[in-house]
């Protein structure tokens, strides 16, 4: 590990890998430090990703695709099923990844273009001088050393500490942290090309349960609930065990995966002098689905490019790096996060009866191509009793 790089990336997930790759491709010296002893493990993800979103950055490869998904099903609290065809399901059609392999592939790609990678190397503090972030203090092989960088990219995930050390409050409100538990199950009866989402306040209060196939008879079976609904005797794992007993009592559990997913708004500002924050660390996971892989890859790639531009111009101030913040907020991804945040805020107010009504009425809606606004408009037509609240939702979406 050198003591100085153009770009230092804290965290070796999809966001960090894309950031280091983009920086190295632009001719910069770049280094990823990953605190864990291996890239890609432990998995803390349901591993679903949209088809179009993924192919923007990497060609699909059977080595890290566990299942190709053709459709999605939403199951209402009363058991009513809404089946979404490939055209309508949008981002829910795509792939279920094998993150252990996928994450390694992304980091390998960064290494191939010249980035340095160090595992079991942990940032223990930020180097901040005169209000400018200038790298990190890194614990590696039993000793601590300063690694200085012109731009530091915080890609340290949901448990991010780096941005906090730089003075940015990244704490997620308890109610907006989905606490999740998932089993990788085998020997279960599923449709291997269909993702299934279960809604309801008994199944998963202010969250959902999911079945994401990973092959013929295996799947990620998981659940996420709002932090404010969690407590002794009713934690994510308790809900998951109830769900599994009901749906897959004969299945075998071969992995336990736990994690937190933020469903709050993104950080108010994702840059500081010498610092860019990406992916889950910037609270960029989707407020409805909780999906964060693409958002991390998109912002990681953008961060690497903006870092290169700013370093080239000799200005890594907050104002110069702010082009990163503006670009992602104005992007399709940024707008989707804002829109989905508002939809989520509405959805968590719904009791089971209203969820049943909405899901069952959505069955009657024919859409050639999925559009949130069309869906909301149609829901208003089908549900005159919910006119006021649905119109308020529609108005908030602009």
């Amino acid at each position: 590990m050198k003591s100085e790089y153009d770009v230092l990336v804290v965290g070796g997930g999809p966001g960090g890998a894309m950031a280091a790759k983009a920086a190295a491709e632009a001719g910069l010296s770049a280094c990823i430090i990953e605190k864990r002893p291996a890239i890609g493990t432990p998995v803390r993800c349901a591993e679903g990703v949209g088809e179009e979103l993924l192919t923007e950055f990497i060609d699909p490869d059977p080595r890290w695709i566990a299942a190709k998904i053709d459709g999605a099903r939403i199951v209402a609290p009363d058991g009513g099923e809404l089946n979404l065809s490939p055209d309508m399901a949008g981002n829910e059609v795509g792939y279920v990844l094998d993150r252990k392999i996928f994450d390694r592939e992304l980091v390998w790609k960064a290494a191939e273009v010249g980035a340095d990678i160090f595992v079991k190397a942990r940032a223990v503090d930020a180097i901040v001088e005169d209000g400018v972030v200038r790298g990190a203090v890194v614990e590696y092989m039993g000793s601590r050393k300063e690694v200085r960088a012109r731009v530091t990219i915080a890609a340290d995930g949901v448990e991010s500490k780096f941005a906090r050390w730089c003075g940015i409050d990244t704490a997620v409100p308890m109610a907006e942290l989905e606490t999740c538990a998932q089993y990788l199950m085998t020997d279960i009866d599923i449709d291997p090309a269909l993702t299934v989402f279960y809604l309801g306040n008994e199944v998963a209060p202010e969250g959902y349960a999911w079945v994401f196939p990973k092959g013929e008879r295996r799947a990620n079976v998981g659940i996420g609930i709002s932090g404010k609904k969690s407590g002794n005797g009713h934690r994510a794992r308790d809900y998951l065990d109830t769900f599994v007993r009901r749906h897959f009592p004969e299945g075998k559990i071969i992995e336990l995966i736990v994690g937190g997913v933020s469903v709050c708004r993104p950080l108010a500002c994702t840059v500081a002098n010498g610092l860019i924050v990406v992916g889950d660390a910037a609270r960029l996971s989707d407020p409805i689905t909780g999906g964060g892989i693409y958002n991390a890859m998109y912002t990681g790639n953008l961060a690497g490019k903006v870092a290169a531009d700013c370093i080239g111009n000799g200005d890594v101030s907050r104002e110069a790096l702010a082009v990163y913040d503006r670009t992602w907020r104005e992007s399709t991804m940024g707008k989707a996060i804002e829109r989905n945040y508002k939809i989520k805020e509405y959805f968590i107010t719904l009791d089971d009866e209203k969820l049943n009504t909405l899901i069952n009425s959505a069955k009657k809606i024919k859409m050639d191509k999925f559009s949130t606004m069309t869906l909301v408009r149609e829901l208003i037509q089908h549900n005159p009793k919910m006119l006021v609240e649905l119109q308020a939702l529609k108005k908030s979406l602009g």
Binding site: K120, E159, A171, L177, A181, S230, N232, R237, G260
Partner: protein, 63 residues
């Protein structure tokens, strides 16, 4: 009596959900174990959100 945050390492799945909600930045996930610093105010938010129930704020006898 004083309150303190206990970490049941045998239950912890080292996922970091607790770290993200800590208002004081007192928790840190170091590879496969969780550490708590003096900044902890025993607010118990982490204990509530933990998906496994690995954290607990308890009253302890001062020795």
């Amino acid at each position: 009596m004083f309150t303190m945050l206990n970490i049941h390492r045998e239950v912890c799945g080292y996922c970091g959900a607790c770290v993200s909600v800590c208002p004081e930045g007192a928790l840190e996930l170091i590879d496969a174990y969780l550490s708590v610093s003096d900044a902890c105010i025993n607010c118990g938010i982490c204990a509530r959100v933990c998906p496994l129930g690995a954290l607990e704020v308890t009253n302890e006898e001062r020795v």
